[in-house]
């Protein structure tokens, strides 16, 4: 069976070489040092089109992390709240949380992402009529603007966003693309995490709680010393899977033009024609990210797992 596989792979490789010769495609990763030739809308590093392509890929990876890490934090907090809400003694809260879970997890993430992007770019007012829910915070079609703590020269001060002409200047800006990806990813993952949290807490046997009560522990003490440590054992491995899914799902950002890794790779394929190399880079980066996430979560899992249990 393995030898059949080997023959198949050899045949595919042979075809690739044939095709590449016929179409005059060159192979290799040298193109990473050519000028990228395209602009990137946002990012942490400074960047312009004349810089080499590898720097564009680095921007893409940083942009992926810039959206994936905050999403993981928000999804975990929100998911825990919804999960607890589904176990509440108040029926209306329980139903509300159940409704959130059932409605969000049965709609594809891509569609939710497109909906958020549409809502943020079409339903919000123009920059000139931006909504200001709090002083120094502006929301409009142009994105979210927050006050920024900036240090110029010697003195540090709050840099408040303000309207200038038809646009908003100053402050710390988050693009609608970024916000759409962040919201969609956080909400979609939160409902899956909510189910994990609920399952984890329900898996704590009633006897444990009763025993704690018999010892005279107060409800908060029971939660802190009995329920949470026991539930975490069931929650953490499943949570790891959700974090892995979330970081892979951040690749959907390509659909709304947020310049993360896949989006940069897509542009590079169209510009340089090096499809194979670009896809290899994307896969390698995601595999590395998955590996690091799994490693960190396994370390954490070792801390919460039952001592001596395998």
């Amino acid at each position: 069976m393995v030898s059949i596989l080997g023959v198949l792979l050899a045949w595919l490789g042979h075809n690739v070489l044939d095709n590449m010769r016929e179409r005059g495609i060159r192979a290799g990763f040298d193109f990473l040092f050519d000028p990228a030739g395209f602009e990137i809308g946002e990012g942490i590093l400074s960047y312009d089109a004349a810089q080499p392509l590898w720097r564009a890929f680095a921007m893409g990876i940083l942009n992926t992390l810039r959206v994936a890490i905050p999403s993981i934090v928000i999804a975990t907090l929100l998911g825990s709240l919804i999960g607890l809400g589904r176990l509440s003694t108040t029926p209306s809260l329980r139903k509300l949380c159940g409704f959130c879970v059932e409605s969000l997890r049965n709609i594809p993430l891509l569609l939710q992402l497109l909906m958020w992007y549409f809502a943020l770019t079409s339903l919000l007012p123009d920059a000139s009529d931006a909504i200001s829910p709090l002083p120094g915070v502006l929301i409009s079609k142009g994105g979210l603007f927050l006050p920024a703590w900036s240090c110029v020269g010697g003195g540090c001060s709050w840099n408040l966003p303000h309207l200038e002409g038809f646009g908003i200047e100053g402050g710390w800006s988050l693009s609608p693309e970024y916000l759409a990806v962040l919201t969609a990813l956080s909400l979609y993952s939160a409902v899956f995490i909510a189910e994990i949290v609920r399952g984890g807490i329900q898996s704590v046997s009633a006897g444990q709680i009763a025993a704690a009560q018999a010892l005279g522990m107060r409800p908060l003490q029971i939660l802190r010393h009995i329920t949470i440590p026991l539930a975490l054992r069931a929650i953490v491995p499943a949570l790891t899977n959700q974090f892995l899914n979330l970081s892979k799902n951040s690749s959907l950002a390509v659909a709304v033009g947020y310049p993360e890794l896949v989006s940069i790779a897509n542009t590079s394929i169209n510009q340089s024609g090096r499809a194979f190399e670009c896809i290899v880079i994307v896969m390698a980066v995601y595999l590395t990210l998955s590996l690091i996430t799994a490693l960190l979560m396994n370390l954490y899992n070792a801390r919460v797992a039952l001592r001596g249990a395998k």
Partner: protein, 335 residues
Amino acid sequence: MSALKHLRTWFWLILAALILWPALNWGVVHAVWTPDLEACRAARGTGACWGVIAEKHRLLLFGRYPFNEQWRPLLASLLILSALSPIAFQKLRTRRFMACGLIGVLLAASLMTGGFAGLSPVPTKLWGGLPLTLLVSLGGTLLAFPLAILLALGRRSTLPLLRSVCTTYIELIRGVPLISLLFMAAFLFPLMLPTQFRLDILPRVIFTIALFAAAYLAEVIRGGLQAVPKGQLVAAQAIGMRHWQAITYIVLPQALRAALPAMVNSFVGIFKDSSLISIVSLHELTGALSLALGGDAEWRSFYLEGYIFIAAVYWLFCFTLSAASRRLENHLNHK
């Protein structure tokens, strides 16, 4: 304590009313139900324009498939849906019906393609909407199935080389996003075939979805295999069955039955993931929306209603399938 509880209940009821009332007002009370552009424009901001669905439902559901031939994708969708019905109805879970379902899926695909019995051939680039979503997700899953079984058995094999090949494949595919595999289908697969041979994007994408689904299904089936007690295999060998006979006739049927609810959940995942093929420009349900509204200057302003409609279609499918899977699980647990 009881007063506090009442207070909490009222708090939630009032909050729900604050959210529900405007939604009801917008979606039902002030909504426009007829494809009347003037009325829709007048109601803008106060009421929904469901007229856009009435106007565009053919494009949304069937994409650019030739208008007069759209009974074909409709019939194809119904065929695929009936092939899925054994998941929900226990009485239909017979071998004969499932074989019919498999033929139904093939029939649906050939009905869409045409070119026989007086049906005009329709190129796949005109396919779209619901039948495409169904065909890609179910076709992909069915194609994935045999590979998934082999991978699951391979991962539990005692041959180290086979085991590591299967494990590497499963972990590799599960570690990368589907979109990177779809880019492979779009850009790389044409390079992997002999130079004179050209394959359409749709079969390439279905094949890719199958390769992707196989890795996830394999893990689910492996779970099922682990649930079969070891004594079953030993007993089968004791009555003189060969190893592969014992696996095929004794272990696999029990493993697949145990894994059935999880397999349905996997299918729901694939169904939702099939929306990604709109990124490689196939106009299934998600992609059909931009097809229907993106180019139309007049109806374009009612995108929100379009999104809600498509979301409702997805929701209905996924919710029904998940509920069926939960019922299946209860049924298996109580047997």
